[in-house]
């Protein structure tokens, strides 16, 4: 489709060769201030949680009773200390490792589940397709926090199990997106050609159809990271997620709740960090939605 638009300019020979699709998408992405802000904030957070703890002269579990509840930025503690005199900044960064890891892993697992369900439902259609999509609808009937808590309450919470249950309640959006994409592509010529050449169902689904739905999947996956970070925070805040003494952004807030009046910084910093992380992934996802929209290539 894009060739018909590019044709006149090529005939004139005045315009240089058009950039690749990825290049054009990046050019569109770069123009979006919020998306770029999100990208830099994510890079900053990732760097901070990776190397930050090594630069701070306190250990996240080091208890220092004489320096309890130090408001920031006293006694060398930039973000203050908690009820045990532990440095808040280093705990925040260590918690970030856990929260961001869960966010990324839950995104990966739920995107794989969602893509497989979506491509199967979209490719086979008929009874298989409608049964799968009705299951998607049924899971979506439950407010996800209810389902998440019900699952979390009966398992031993650790990074892996929390990741899996967040993925178990986050795959439906991807499944819907993929299914509608696949249904639109299902009867296009290149799929019929592949089928006529004797390609297996699996080959057509995974090698021909899925790559053509990559754009929407990437967008949905990015937004899923934001959602997963938020979900981890909710479950841990409510006491069923990552358990002390390990810190996650959610359980730091759980702990901060009881000292809200006397040590508000314990609540303020983790909350701001969660908001920054989540809003950044949302900005990036939104920017990607515009950048990867194939229709924009025609403009």
């Amino acid at each position: 489709m894009s060739s018909t638009v590019a044709l006149p300019s090529r005939m004139e020979g005045s315009q240089p060769k058009r950039a690749s699709r990825g290049g054009r998408a990046w050019a569109r992405f770069r123009r979006r201030g919020l998306a770029m802000f999100g990208l830099f904030a994510i890079a900053f957070l990732a760097l901070a949680v990776l190397i930050g703890p090594a630069l701070i002269p306190f250990d996240q579990l080091h208890i220092d009773i004489r320096n309890r509840f130090q408001p920031p930025p006293l006694a060398g503690h930039l973000f203050g200390t908690d009820q045990l005199g532990r440095d808040l900044l280093v705990r925040l960064l260590m918690a970030g490792r856990i929260s961001l890891t869960i966010g990324f892993m839950a995104m990966a697992v739920s995107t794989i589940i969602g893509a497989l369900v979506g491509v199967t439902a979209g490719y086979f259609g008929g009874l298989v397709g409608s049964v799968l999509m009705r299951i998607v609808d049924a899971v979506l009937c439950f407010p996800s926090i209810f389902l998440l808590l019900a699952l979390a309450a009966f398992i031993r919470p650790n990074i892996i199990t929390i990741t899996l249950i967040i993925a178990a309640t986050s795959w439906m959006e991807v499944a819907r997106v993929v299914q509608s994409q696949i249904r639109a592509l299902r009867h296009r010529d290149f799929i019929l050609a592949a089928e006529m050449m004797g390609a297996s169902n699996a080959h057509v689904m995974l090698r021909e159809l899925l790559p053509n739905a990559a754009g929407p999947i990437i967008v949905a996956a990015t937004l899923t990271i934001a959602r997963a970070i938020l979900m981890e925070a909710y479950v841990s805040f409510l006491g069923y997620g990552i358990q002390a003494p390990a810190a996650s952004w959610g359980n730091m807030l759980n702990n901060a709740q009881q000292y809200l009046g006397s040590a508000p910084w314990l609540a303020i910093f983790p909350g701001l960090t969660i908001t920054l992380a989540v809003v950044s992934f949302n900005f990036v996802g939104d920017g990607l939605r515009d950048a990867l929209d194939a229709r924009m290539d025609l403009v």
Binding site: L34, P143, S144, A233, Y234, L253, V279, N282
Partner: protein, 316 residues
């Protein structure tokens, strides 16, 4: 319309059946299952556990157990709470008014504020207001509800002392004004995300309508911009909002759970968390079912309402 109504009802029933299977599976396939609460009791022997398991029917096959549970559910026998042996349905229904009070107030705030912001943003597309509203909505969607609740409590209860920090009323003073006073903070906290979503949706719907031919016609026949926007564009852009009301119920219920926890609000969400703590299976399963049924009913009602308001939907 009758045909649409019937097919939509049939769809909902299929979903309801699937929902019940999921709710059942979540709790019965979990490690330990309903028996785990008794296994924790000190001095419990294997024989006693086996006896309890038999009493509760847990030694039968899962399909049989499921069928028993569903058929009782249908006649209103939702079992008894493990905690105080009260009937589950009565416990849950007793908590619903508080939850509904909170949700309806939040949704009213969301509709009023969200729709106004959305319309203004669409009419003045690209203005400073529009950009601020866009960024603001995105930030609002990213703030954890419980943290926003903590911030509100810190500022308005602890520092300024304007609003109570929690619960639905003051003991001994159950006047209307007192209820209202307690409602303000949690309702605002719950409404935040909804305001953001409604404003984004309304802006999008408004922009869709503005680009349509009948709006151009209205302008061409010389109507004022105000009349075009309010009488023609706005009224048509409201149609998709009916559907949004149904779509938003899961988010609203989930938000209510968190808000109720932060503000010690005696609703269904807090009951859910308390019951999880006690491993009170019948209540947990009951609330899972009630929330899913509410979501189903909400989307059914939203669809029927939009079909009633817009003949184009019925013909599909």
């Amino acid at each position: 319309m009758a045909h649409y109504l019937l097919s939509r009802l049939a769809q909902s029933l299929v979903l309801l059946a699937l929902v019940s299977v999921i709710a059942f599976a979540v709790l019965h396939l979990a490690p330990g299952g309903p028996l785990s609460q008794f296994a924790l009791v000190p001095g419990m022997t294997q024989e006693q556990l086996a006896h309890i398991s038999h009493e509760m029917g847990l030694d039968r096959s899962l399909p049989v157990q499921y069928w028993e549970w569903v058929s009782r559910l249908l006649v209103g026998d939702w079992g008894h709470s493990y905690r105080d042996n009260q009937p589950v349905l009565a416990i849950i229904v007793g908590r619903l008014p508080a939850t509904f009070e909170l949700m309806l107030t939040a949704i009213a705030i969301a509709i009023l504020l969200g729709i106004s912001i959305g319309v203004l943003g669409a009419v003045r597309r690209g203005s400073v207001f529009d950009s601020l509203a866009t960024v603001g909505a995105m930030v609002a969607l990213s703030i954890p509800t419980f943290w926003f609740g903590l911030v509100v409590i810190y500022l308005f209860s602890l520092k300024l002392g304007w609003l109570p920090a929690g619960s639905r009323s003051t003991v001994g003073d159950e006047s209307f004004g007192d209820y209202l006073h307690h409602l303000i903070a949690p309702a605002i906290v719950l409404a935040l995300v909804e305001v953001a979503i409604w404003s984004r949706y309304m802006r999008g719907a408004m922009l869709d309508v503005i680009s349509q031919d009948f709006v151009r016609t209205a302008r061409a026949k010389g109507l004022t911009e105000r009349a075009v926007m309010l009488r023609h564009a706005f009224r048509n852009a409201l149609l998709p909002m009916i559907e949004l009301g149904g779509l938003e119920l899961p988010t609203l219920l989930g938000g209510a759970l968190v808000t109720e926890t932060v503000f010690t609000w005696p609703g269904m969400g807090r009951l859910f968390l308390d019951s999880l703590g006690y491993r009170d299976y019948p209540v947990v399963m009951g609330i899972l079912m009630v929330s899913a049924v509410l979501v189903l009913l909400g989307s059914l009602m939203a669809d029927l309402l939009s079909a009633a308001a817009d003949p184009r939907i019925r013909l599909h």
